[in-house]
């Protein structure tokens, strides 16, 4: 399978520079909140040169690179940029697989006839991205996704590297072993063994790589040989609907956002495309007054058309998230649309299932507390004149 990897390194930084939020040629760091601490989402090469890496705490990055421009992430902008990136590639090939931000694989089998050679095809992809998104991508074309990615990763922005079929191992041989998709621990151990290039790993017998690193060792050994059998998984077009509402004044209270959420859900469900259909996913986006944005995606356990349920989820999401600022615009996008007009409940099944769920919950309580903390009331001698003889509690043990 011939594949082209189209790669825009440091996609969030590239988007921020293209939009003018970040200056070109200066150290830029984008910090995001992970759990309760803020970590670096992405950084420019200038910041990386001073020791900043994605994933390190922002506080640490601040210490390493005091003159950097620190930005809050703008997930909406990145998402829209990524969508535009994949859309322009879909104009070149119908087989496009989206990966991380700024990474896509394009199936090129059958396209060669349309172009003079693979280099021309690669240049077409570079031009498409430049014209459609305004960013410089590097392109690698090879047999399999990993060799294609490695070719793109070692190419400069705007460059194309095509690896002839059957020459993957030769191409990869001098490349740094850290290009392999391995965990940091495995990379550290590879380094301890003195394996620095793909050729070093490829020169080992397969058994030795497997003995040291297990199944991951086999996979890495194959990749170092240029063998990647992982198929291309083209993205499917997914129907989605969205509505947005701009506040006259930036909203800060959850109640105001819920009023907007109710209005947006009402508008969505009034659209003919959503009539008698349920949705599986809901994406909430908020444009904040200070130029930042916020985004959350909720996947329902079962497709739903129940607006009250969706509004409840929206409330829980907003309350749990704690928006980082006042909201200028709120949008709701629904996707995973079903063709169902409703859900047929069983006449007896639901009751049986509830009982099964209840019994499972009680088993969990029993496992936790050592005995069932739940009792049920039984009539012992309901006719008795002595009150304590009539009813009793008995352990409920399903």
């Amino acid at each position: 399978m011939r594949a082209a990897c189209v790669f825009i390194p440091r996609f969030p930084i590239a988007i921020e520079i293209a939009s003018g939020r970040a200056p070109r040629g200066r150290a830029v760091v984008i910090g995001e909140s992970a759990d309760s601490r803020r970590v670096v989402l992405d950084c420019s090469p200038e910041a990386e040169a001073q020791g900043v890496r994605p994933g390190v705490p922002v506080r640490e990055a601040l210490g390493l690179c005091r003159d950097a421009v620190f930005l809050a992430p703008d997930p909406i902008r990145y998402h829209e940029g990524s969508e535009a990136f994949l859309r322009v590639l879909s104009g070149v090939s119908p087989l496009v697989e989206g990966g991380d931000l700024g990474l896509a694989y394009v199936g090129v089998d059958g396209l060669q006839g349309h172009y003079e050679d693979e280099m021309t095809l690669g240049e077409t992809l570079v031009r498409a991205v430049r014209g459609g998104v305004g960013l410089e991508a590097s392109v690698g074309i090879a047999e399999g996704k990993f060799p294609a990615w490695a070719a793109a990763a070692v190419s400069a922005p705007g460059e194309v590297t095509a690896v002839p079929a059957g020459k993957e191992r030769e191409f990869l041989a001098p490349l740094d072993i850290s290009l392999l998709p391995a965990s940091p621990e495995v990379l550290r151990r590879l380094d301890l063994y003195g394996l620095r290039t793909m050729a070093d790993l490829a020169a080992l017998p397969l058994g030795a790589a497997q003995a040291q690193f297990g199944p991951e060792g086999r996979r890495l050994w194959e990749l170092a040989h240029g063998l990647d059998r992982e198929p291309l998984r083209p993205r499917r077009h997914e129907e989605s609907l969205s509505e947005r509402l701009t506040f006259p004044e930036p909203a800060v209270s959850t109640e105001a956002l819920l009023v907007a959420g109710r209005e947006l859900l009402g508008r969505l469900f009034r659209q003919p495309a959503l009539r008698h259909r349920a949705v599986r996913r809901m994406r909430l986006r908020a444009a904040l007054a200070d130029g930042r944005s916020w985004e959350r995606t909720v996947t329902f356990r079962e497709a739903t058309a129940d607006r009250d349920q969706m509004l409840y989820v929206l409330r829980c999401t907003l309350e749990a998230a704690g928006l980082p600022g006042s909201v200028e615009e709120l949008s709701v996008e629904v996707s995973g649309l079903t063709e169902e007009t409703g859900k047929q409940e069983g006449l007896f099944v639901a009751k049986g299932r509830r009982r099964a769920q209840l019994e499972e919950a009680l088993r969990q309580l029993k496992a936790r507390f050592g005995q069932s903390p739940v009792y049920h009331i039984v009539e012992v001698e309901p006719w008795s004149r002595i009150p304590e003889r009539r009813l009793a509690l008995i352990d409920y043990d399903p």
Binding site: K366, V380, R385, I386, P387, E388, L391, A392, I394
Partner: protein, 96 residues
Amino acid sequence: MVAHPRTPARPHRLRPLREPKPIDVEADGEWRPVAVTLGGRRLRVVAVQDAWRIDDEWWRERPVSRMYWQVELEDGQALTLYDDLLARVWFRQAYR
């Protein structure tokens, strides 16, 4: 090996509901309740709304012989008391 379930080895136990609770009752010479002590407060009995006697389980080692009194206290609350006629001890009990 089966893990220890941490459950005490005992058969299912019945826990009687509406078990009587001891109460401090002041009675007159005819064993009629005059006042009770609830939460450290002495409350006078202002009215007896009903009274009945239960003699039962005479075949057991500890037969039941109780004189029940449904009374109204000075703070307005209603209470059902009984006098254990064999032990001469007072209890309160929900009686429905």
